[in-house]
Structure formats: structure tokens, C-alpha cells
């Protein structure tokens, strides 16, 4: 099951500048795990030492905001688009 994942600009260096990646998985967390397996540098950014999705990452799933804590169970369908962004603060 393939979904499309858009990376934020700061993470694209880890995959040669690519903006969109294709990933397999039936949930957001599974898609991230697939990407981390194929691109270990991305895995550093997605998951903390305890294997949890970093908590300030926010996902937009076809326009709906999904927080990290919800990503494990959040189902995705073939062809869906997931946009990675993050909680923003400061100047």
C-alpha cells in the first residue's frame, strides 16, 4: 500500500533533495517506519530514542491535522498524501 509523503525543506538533504517520497504502510507510523528503513538519516528525525514519533511533528493527511500521538493508529489509504510539518514557535 503506497502513500505519498511530503518532507519539510530541512529534511530533504537526507534524501538528496527530494520533496515527495513514496512509502508503504497502512498507518502514518507504518509509512514513517518504511521511510526510516530505506533512509536511516530520516529515521533520526522521525523517531526518538524510545521509538516514539517526535512529538512536535504534525501531519496533514489529505488536509486534516494529525498529531504525533495519533499517528500510530491513524489509517491511510493507497494514494493518500501525508505532509510533514512541525509545531512552530518563536521568531
Amino acid at each position: 500500500m503506497t502513500v505519498r509523503v511530503q518532507l519539510p525543506p530541512v529534511l530533504r538533504n537526507a534524501v538528496g533533495g527530494e520533496r515527495w517520497l513514496e512509502a508503504d504502510g497502512t498507518s502514518i507510523a507504518a509509512a514513517l517506519s518504511d521511510l526510516a528503513h530505506r533512509h536511516p538519516a530520516l529515521g533520526l528525525h522521525f523517531f526518538d530514542e524510545q521509538g516514539a514519533i517526535r512529538r512536535n511533528i504534525i501531519f496533514l493527511h489529505d488536509g486534516t491535522m494529525i498529531r504525533a500521538a495519533e499517528a500510530l493508529a491513524h489509517r491511510v489509504n493507497p494514494g493518500d498524501e501525508i505532509v510533514l510539518t512541525n509545531a512552530l514557535a518563536g521568531g
Binding site: 530541512v10 538519516a41 533520526l44 528525525h45 526518538d48 517526535r54 512529538r55 512536535n56 498529531r67 512541525n86
Partner: protein, 370 residues
């Protein structure tokens, strides 16, 4: 002499380069990443550490200071490692709903990178050391340090519990030092297996807020230490320390103690001159009267103020990692301010010149042959 500076800020790194140390070019790399530390290995490769509250820490490498590649590995604790709750609170290690992470120990920042004896070392926050023997491709925790018997007594400073200083002995690969805010200064004599606290003469055993330490690795046992509570020297590898503040501005700290406060230090290896930037105590944290001044000493007996070319009415700070020496002849000394200006001296501190401005808070400066 060609020199390149890697100036770390929360927005990325300014690369300042010069062939003559008079005229400087500037470009801005690693945009969007807070750049917290840098180092150069024996093949000239530059390593830059970045961190993000959203995406964690990583290390980028470059052979030309223009093209940067992220390494696939970075220092990380084990899932079972337990963290310090007070450190979690200080560094805001919580989600945006305000919930603290529970229990674990996390690398939230790389404070320093240090190349020695064919290995790359990283000092991190939450405080710990990691080593890579394959130029950053994989990392191993220095368990003798990270699981130190006194770790339960380590308390974070204002900036958290961070291992920010690593020093090595050019003649003895088994001897190294590490500084932790606010746990103190430690030394290993067995290649990192065991570490002994080295704070005698500063106060107590652990619980010290060491800010930075510098030395000549070829004469490694003579150490100069900028502590929260004053400037100290050791002639025995850190076994004992004494205050060396003759000529330095002394101020009153928030607890009433009088000493010379500051963060950054650097050494010119050719002359063994040592440099610090005193600040007006832990309440104010800017140069006395707003006169930005570097102080220099040859042996610690007497400090000399250096202000030629440095501004008055400068109410900013120089942070612990924001000073470096290029080891040229004469020595080039560089520092960046918390308000984003970089100053350079090409004559070992006699005269200073602004070489960059308009940056954000400068947290690290590395000076490298280019």
C-alpha cells in the same frame, strides 16, 4: 594563511573564509537548522552538529564547506536509559500540549565535537559522551562516563544538563577530560572506562558549573577553566585548581560570591596565550559598562584587557562555544556574540575587527585551515 570559520546560529551556519585574514567572504549554509558545534578531522573534513526541537539532532559533513551531507547516524541513548526530570523540564522536552516526556534519556543537543587520536567524540545534552571510530558513520556511548557512579547527583544548569567540553592529551590517548554543566569536570586515564571528578580547589566533588576549559593538547596537564565561580588554573591535569584572576574584572554573583564570570575561552598554541571574555556576573551577563573586552594571559599570573577595535555600549554576551583560535602565526582569535556579530584578531588579540554582523545568537565558532 587561509582560514574558514564555521559560525553556528539557530538559523544555520555562516561560513566566513579568508586567504589573508583581512578580507572575508561570507555565505550561509545548513539553513533552517540550529548549528551547535563543529570540528575538523585529520583529513580536513568538517563536521557540523545540528539540532531541532522538532526533528532531533544530526551531523552534517562537508569537504568544501559548500556542499553538506547529512550522516545516517548520530549519538542516541538506548531506549532503556533513564533521564533527569529536571533537565527535561529546563529544555522543554515536552510536546506542544505541555506533557513531559516520561522517563527516557534523550540527546536533545550536541554541545561539542572533538577529534582526537583517530576518533570523533561528541558531548551532548542530556549530559553524556559518544564516540565514533568511523568518522561519524556509527556512534557508541561512552558508558564509563554516561553511567558515572555520581550521575544521580548531577544537576542541570540554566541551560540544562549538558556535556559541553571535551579535551584530549596529544601524547596519551588514554587521558581525556570532559566538562558538564552543572556536574563539574572529569578525567579519564584509561581510555574512557572510568572517570574521576576533578574539581578540587573549585569546590566540592561534583555539582560544579564549569563553563569552558582550554589547554594545549601537547602540554595537556596545564588547564585553564572558566567556571561559573571564577577563572582557575590547574598544573596537574585537573587534580588541583587555583584561582587566577589578577587583572580580570571581578563581580558579585547572585549568591554573593565575588569572582570573574564568563563563558568562552580559547588558547593560541604557539604562544600559549589564553583568552576569556568576562561578563558582569550571572545577573547581567554583558561586558562591564558595555565595553566589549577580551582578556589575555600568558601564564595566568596577570590578565591584560584587549579592547582595540571592540565596541563600547555593547550589552550582549559571548557564549561558551563561541570563541576559537586558528593556530596561525601570529595567532588568529575569533568570537561571536549573542547578538550576531563576529570579531576577529589576526595578531593574537592586539587589534580586533568586526567581520560579520546581522546573524542571530551565535552559539558556536570553529576556526579551521582551509
Amino acid at each position: 594563511m587561509s582560514v574558514a570559520l564555521v559560525v553556528g546560529t539557530p538559523k544555520g551556519a555562516a561560513i566566513l573564509a579568508s586567504k589573508d585574514r583581512k578580507n572575508w567572504s561570507e555565505r550561509f549554509v545548513l539553513q533552517g537548522w540550529p548549528v551547535t558545534a563543529s570540528a575538523q578531522d585529520d583529513k580536513g573534513r568538517i563536521y557540523a552538529a545540528v539540532n531541532s526541537p522538532s526533528y532531533g539532532v544530526a551531523i552534517f559533513v562537508s569537504d568544501d564547506l559548500e556542499n553538506w551531507k547529512q550522516l545516517s547516524a548520530a549519538p542516541r541513548y538506548r531506549p532503556e536509559d533513564r533521564g533527569n526530570p529536571e533537565h527535561h523540564r529546563i529544555v522543554g522536552q515536552m510536546d506542544f500540549e505541555g506533557k513531559l516526556k516520561s522517563g527516557g534519556r534523550f540527546v536533545d543537543q550536541i554541545w561539542t565535537l572533538h577529534w582526537a587520536h583517530g576518533a570523533l567524540y561528541a558531548g551532548v545534552s542530556e549530559a553524556g559522551l559518544f564516540v565514533s571510530r568511523d568518522r561519524g558513520e556509527s556512534w557508541q556511548p561512552v558508558d564509563g562516563f554516561n553511567e558515572h557512579p555520581t550521575r544521580a547527583t548531577w544537576q542541570p544548569g540554566f541551560g540544562g544538563l549538558g556535556a559541553h567540553t571535551i579535551l584530549s592529551d596529544a601524547k596519551n590517548p588514554n587521558r581525556m577530560w570532559a566538562g558538564v554543566s552543572a556536574a563539574g569536570f572529569f578525567r579519564t586515564d584509561d581510555g574512557g572506562k572510568t572517570w574521576a571528578a576533578k574539581n578540587d580547589g573549585v569546590n566540592g566533588d561534583t555539582g560544579q558549573c564549569v563553563h569552558s576549559v582550554t589547554h594545549d593538547p601537547r602540554n595537556a596537564n596545564v588547564l585553564f577553566r572558566q567556571e561559573h565561580r571564577g577563572v582557575h588554573r590547574s598544573d596537574d591535569g585537573g587534580d588541583t585548581w587555583r584561582v587566577i584572576e589578577d587583572g580580570l574584572p571581578v563581580c558579585e554573583l547572585s549568591d554573593g560570591h565575588r569572582c570573574s564570570f564568563g563563558f568562552a575561552s580559547a588558547i593560541d598554541l604557539k604562544t600559549r596565550n589564553v583568552f576569556v571574555v568576562p561578563l558582569e556576573g550571572d545577573n547581567f551577563r554583558f561586558p562591564r559598562g558595555g565595553q566589549l573586552a577580551v582578556y589575555r594571559t600568558g601564564d595566568g599570573a596577570r590578565w591584560q584587557p584587549l579592547t582595540d577595535g571592540l565596541p563600547a555600549n555593547c550589552f550582549t554576551a559571548v557564549l561558551r562555544g563561541a570563541m576559537a583560535a586558528d593556530q596561525g602565526d601570529p595567532g588568529g582569535i575569533y568570537f561571536g556574540t549573542a547578538s550576531g556579530t563576529v570579531y576577529a584578531s589576526a595578531d593574537c588579540g592586539d587589534r580586533w575587527k568586526e567581520i560579520a554582523s546581522g546573524l542571530s545568537r551565535i552559539t558556536s565558532v570553529g576556526a579551521y585551515s582551509a
